[in-house]
Symmetry: C2
Subunit: 177 residues, 2 copies
């Protein structure tokens, strides 16, 4: 799963403790993904075992001690490897984009283009279902109306995702120059 990789991205930007990571998640990556401190502490523990991160205990005055984590060479390689993989979920894709600088940015762009194509396919499927099952939306009532509105939600979501993919590809290509 991608929480580990989201943490790697965050730690590559800036080393930090579990507590700090939890707070950072409330911003940036947290725009679309909330991770509890429990998850983060557990993931960090696992990642230390895997050798993806190293940990220094730091004594503080006026505060409890903390453990500061930073990404090891192994971790950096693992992150780059993962970024080049196809994205399984939307979260995945977003984390890969966010971490594009720590891997193969061209691959990330290609993956977003692939997702765009998937959105186009899904959208045309939804639109076909809409034409077939709800040819006259204005006349719908009760349960049929509710069903149609659920489908409208799917269409709007796919549309938004598709437009985001297009905007992102455009921006990445402009940046390339």
């Amino acid at each position: 799963m991608s929480l580990e990789y989201a943490i790697l991205v965050s730690l590559r930007e800036r080393a930090g403790s579990g507590y700090e990571l939890a707070r950072r998640f409330d911003k940036s990556i947290g725009y679309f993904w909330a991770a509890s401190h429990q998850q983060i502490y557990r993931s960090l523990k696992r990642m230390v075992e895997l050798g993806w991160v190293d940990c220094d205990e730091v004594a503080q005055q006026k505060r409890p001690d903390k453990k500061v984590y930073r990404v090891s060479d192994t971790g950096a390689e693992e992150l780059a490897r993962w970024i080049a993989e196809p994205a399984a979920t939307r979260n995945d894709l977003t984390v890969k984009l966010r971490g594009a600088s720590y891997g193969d940015a061209a691959q990330v762009r290609a993956e977003i283009a692939r997702q765009r194509d998937l959105r186009i396919q899904q959208l045309s499927l939804y639109r076909e279902i809409e034409r077939r099952d709800f040819p006259d939306p204005a006349k719908l009532s009760g349960q049929a109306l509710h069903q149609h509105l659920v489908l409208r939600g799917g269409i709007r979501t796919e549309q938004a995702l598709l437009e985001w993919c297009e905007e992102t590809i455009r921006a990445l290509d402009d940046d390339q120059e």
Copy 2:
């Protein structure tokens, strides 16, 4: 969680077996939510224990026997009770809309209005962050660009959800007349 309630909605529309439910989920509710047959069988088992559904074993020729489930009075009450509750997630909200006819439709409309207000708030927060952190988007490059694009994804998602809420409220009000 709402899988149980999604199943109740599906079974109120038409009684069926676990297998049939799994296939139905591929359509309609499955536009936005995939449930494996495992989850469905387990939920059905639990719901029988809770007395929310009744089960008849039906022998078939040419096919293995099947168990046909239908919603009990208790289950129907429980569904209506749940529909009137505030929605915790987007899936929740969609299931409640889909099942509005089996509960208090006015309450569902009110809940969608509440969600619309939440989207408006979230959107204005995101827009404020965008103005503050990315005042000149055209000049962004590298990591800052990636960060901005992630935020753009959040904005587009909220925007799509908001518009869907508005479309839905309009449609429900028109249907009311």
